[in-house]
């Protein structure tokens, strides 16, 4: 597995450089940006990793960046750092889904704990995203008739209902269902429903 990437956004070059060094030594991949604008110029929904952003910067602030990422539906976990405690800013950033809020000078243990938390969230998100991709690939292998059967199964319909709706025998429905489960790689109906729903999620 590739190392987790941390995007460090801070207007102070020394802060960027030192944090990058420390995180690299802890086994993370790091990319630095001198400002929120520079980061936003490059970021895309394909990216994976953790955002470590300074709250107060000339130009766009950390909170504004968070808002912009949400607006673009980019769900990278965000850790906000600032020079001195501002409870109102902290509250806002938590509400906007920040993983943690760290005060400068940054305590290493807190930083690593926050990073670990973010890594967990990001891995899950990546896994979820990966499952969705896998499911879409499997769904593509289903025949139109099988898609019809699947939609109705996921909607919670019984075999008899499906048979009457599609004007086929119950026996035929059961054959299609077995084939769908085999193609989607699940053994139970419940698993099939969960995979499809979470994949859509």
């Amino acid at each position: 597995m590739l190392p987790m990437r941390v995007y460090i956004i801070d207007d102070d070059a020394a802060v960027r450089d030192s944090l990058a060094l420390l995180l690299r030594l802890h086994g993370f991949d790091t990319v630095c940006f001198a400002g929120a604008e520079a980061f936003l110029d490059e970021v895309s929904s394909e990216w994976s990793g953790i955002v470590l952003v300074d709250l107060r910067m000339p130009g766009m602030s950390g909170l504004e960046l968070q808002a912009e990422l949400q607006a673009r539906q980019i769900e990278l976990p965000v850790i906000v750092i600032t020079a001195h405690g501002e409870t109102s800013a902290a509250r806002t950033s938590f509400k906007s889904g920040a993983v943690d809020f760290l005060e400068k000078p940054i305590d290493r243990d807190q930083l690593l704990a926050a990073i670990r938390e973010a890594v967990k969230l990001e891995s899950e998100r990546v896994r979820r995203t990966g499952r969705t991709a896998e499911m879409l690939r499997q769904l593509a292998r289903l025949t139109p008739r099988e898609r019809e059967i699947l939609d109705r199964v996921v909607a919670g319909k019984h075999n008899r209902e499906i048979a009457s709706e599609l004007d086929i025998s119950v026996r035929t429905v059961e054959v299609h269902k077995a084939r769908v489960m085999a193609k989607m790689g699940v053994e139970r109906i419940a698993d099939l429903v969960r995979v499809v729903l979470s994949g859509k999620g």
Binding site: V15, L19, L21, L22, G59, A83, H84, K104, I106
Partner: protein, 663 residues
């Protein structure tokens, strides 16, 4: 004028109106005619020839008093009275036409005199010397005309010969003038007094005066006319006495009494007509003298009364004035002092008298000429001192300067000013502390950056060292970086310390271009992001500044940031900041930062430099108050020029002097 006096005055005016109605009082006319005829009969003494010209003729005096006192509308009554008198007393034998002619001349003549007097603004109350002069002149001149006309009428009717014209005219004139002079003023003055309800007061002095007149007249009546005429001057004494004591009012009464007594005396003595004429001429002189003397006395008395009341008023003002008022002679010694002065200096007025002002006021300038007001300290009798404000006024009395000093105790005011000053200082201190606190917060923020970096580097170093690879180049590199960050933190702390120093830190030569560049650097990103145009307009001949670079950089940064903030928030179409630098006198440089923003609201501009009045949401590194104090510590100034549309902050800073070493 107090209201009671005003109402009295108004009611008196009302009475006047009711007392002199426009209608002619029938009773008045009747009484006048009866008295006229009676007087004419009474005074019908020593008639000259059959024409009834007498040397004492009071009836015209009665007529004039009627016209002047009650109004010209009574003129027709004169005609009736004159005609009646002509018929009953004088020319019982004359035909009706002649009676009408003579009566018309007399009545018309006296009416003319009254008209002329009224037209000349004559006051029948004889208020001034002018009224008396006017009266004497018009009556004398008018009487001559009347006398001449009357006598000429007799000549024309053949009752008199031409040769007798001059003598008879003189005779007539003397009789009329003396008759009017003794009667009219008396009637006008005492009639008005009686109408006001004032009764004559008979005192012992008045009785003595009457007795002395009677004595002289008694003496005259017992003597030969020649001797008597020589003693006539004795009558001047009681009349001077009366005039001086009782003024014009007394004189008119005394003269009338003397005239009546004189007529009685000459009648008793049985003098010839020529002698009576002689005495009447003397009486005329006495009358004019007495009247003028009396008028002078009245005027003098009136003036003294006016002076006394105005002095009393002034004394009351001075006595009740809350400020100390002292009169000073030309040696600046106190001649008079009011109650407030006694209280202020803690001495009785008696003790203040003759005290030199320099003993009362500490540090009084030796030469007070031209001094109008000064602030000084008053020394009290117990040696304590009070802050006072002294104002001077001066005037010349008998050619010597007299000063008036008004001394105001300003203890309360001084105390209040002191309090205000203390509060100002307190406020200043508070603001300074607030500014310092904000400054500290800003610097703490800045300090956090190198500390964060240094701590991260150190942690990284720990891990690098744990690898136990001394050849790793990043080890040394990171150590350098750590040291650099610690250095940076140190410089921020130094800056903070410099900030609390009251004098500018170490000054150095700073080029304005470099200063502007450094102040702008941290703002570049924002300036570009918000499309703000920044222009530097630095004159070629601007010398380098001699300032604490760090502090002035902060000030300029702060001012420019204010401009940026104003432009970001504003909806201005054109977003421009102009930083202009030019030479300023003396030996300084002026830097102006002007923006195209909305400008500073007047309410905020007032206190812009006094407190952290700001429209920004986020705190700033530096308040304008502290910016100004930094500039002022450099000997310069920082102010807001509101003459432009946007905000224009201007500062002056010391620069390198021409000819000074640039080393």
């Amino acid at each position: 004028m107090p209201s009671s006096t005003i109402s009295e005055y108004l009611s008196r005016r009302g009475e006047n109106r009711s007392r002199s109605p426009m209608s002619i009082g029938g009773a008045v006319v009747l009484a006048y005619v009866v008295v006229y005829v009676f007087l004419d009969w009474l005074s019908f003494i020593h008639p000259l020839g059959p024409y009834a010209i007498t040397v004492w003729n009071p009836p015209p005096g009665l007529s004039l008093a009627l016209l002047l006192g009650l109004g010209l509308r009574y003129a027709p009554a004169l005609l009736v009275a004159c005609a009646l008198a002509e018929i009953t007393v004088r020319h019982g034998h004359a035909d009706f036409g002649e009676v009408v002619l003579y009566a018309a001349i007399l009545a018309g003549g006296y009416t003319a005199i009254a008209v002329i007097l009224k037209r000349s603004a004559f006051d029948p109350r004889f208020r001034s010397l002018r009224d008396l002069m006017l009266f004497v002149t018009v009556v004398s001149a008018g009487s001559i005309v009347i006398a001449a006309a009357y006598v000429f009428a007799h000549v024309a009717t053949g009752a008199l010969a031409w040769s007798e014209f001059a003598d008879h005219t003189l005779y007539f004139w003397v009789g009329d003038v003396i008759g009017i002079a003794t009667t009219t003023p008396f009637l006008l003055i005492h009639g008005a007094r009686a109408a006001r309800g004032i009764r004559p007061r008979i005192t012992i002095e008045v009785v003595l005066q009457a007795l002395s007149i009677a004595a002289v007249l008694g003496l005259i009546s017992t003597l030969e006319p020649g001797h008597a005429a020589n003693l006539f001057y004795l009558l001047f004494m009681p009349l001077v006495w009366i005039s001086i004591r009782y003024g014009f009012e007394g004189a008119t009464a005394g003269l009338l009494a003397t005239q009546l007594g004189l007529i009685a005396a000459v009648q008793l003595a049985g003098y010839t007509t020529d002698w009576v004429l002689q005495f009447q001429l003397l009486m005329l002189a006495l009358t004019v003298t007495g009247a003028f003397l009396g008028m002078s006395a009245t005027q003098w008395r009136r003036a003294r009364h006016a002076l006394e009341s105005s002095e009393a008023e002034l004394n009351t003002i001075v006595a009740t004035a809350p400020d100390a008022i002292v009169s000073l002679d030309d040696q600046c010694r106190v001649t008079r002092a009011n109650r407030a002065a006694e209280a202020l200096f803690g001495r009785e007025a008696v003790a203040l008298a003759d005290t030199s002002l320099s003993e009362l006021i500490v540090d009084l300038p030796s030469n007070l000429a031209g001094t109008r007001a000064l602030r000084a300290r008053a020394r009290r009798s117990d040696a304590s001192e009070l802050p006072v404000e002294v104002s001077f006024g001066s005037t010349l009395v008998d050619g010597r300067p007299v000063y008036i000093g008004v001394i105001r105790d300003t203890t309360d005011r001084s105390r209040m000013e002191e309090k205000l000053r203390e509060r100002d200082q307190h406020l200043d201190r508070t603001l300074r502390i607030a500014a310092a606190a904000e400054m500290a917060s800003a610097l703490a923020h800045e300090l956090n950056q190198p500390l964060t970096a240094a701590s991260a580097y150190v942690q990284a170093l720990e891990m690098l060292l744990a690898r136990n690879d001394p050849a790793d180049p990043s080890l040394l590199d990171t150590m350098h970086k750590t040291a650099g960050e610690v250095e940076r933190a140190g410089s921020i702390v130094r800056r903070l310390r410099e900030f609390y120093r009251h004098d500018p830190g170490t000054t150095e030569q700073v080029q304005v271009e470099a200063l502007v560049e450094n102040a702008l650097a941290p703002l570049r990103t924002r300036i570009e992001r918000h499309g703000i145009e920044v222009a530097a307009d630095i004159d070629a001949d601007v010398p380098p500044l001699v300032v604490d670079r760090v502090q002035i950089e902060m000030v300029l940064h702060n001012v420019v940031r204010n401009a940026v903030d104003a432009l970001v928030d504003a909806a201005s179409e054109r977003r421009q900041i102009v930083i202009a630098a030019s030479r300023a006198q003396p030996g300084g440089v002026q830097i102006a930062v002007e923006d195209t923003g909305p400008g500073v609201a007047p309410a905020i501009a007032e206190q812009l430099f006094r407190s952290f009045v700001t429209s920004r949401k986020e705190g700033t590194g530096l308040g304008l108050a502290i910016s100004r104090s930094i500039v002022e510590r450099h000997g310069g100034r920082l102010w807001l020029d509101r003459s432009t549309g946007g905000a224009r902050f201007v500062m002056t800073l010391p620069a390198l002097q021409e000819g000074a070493s640039r080393a």
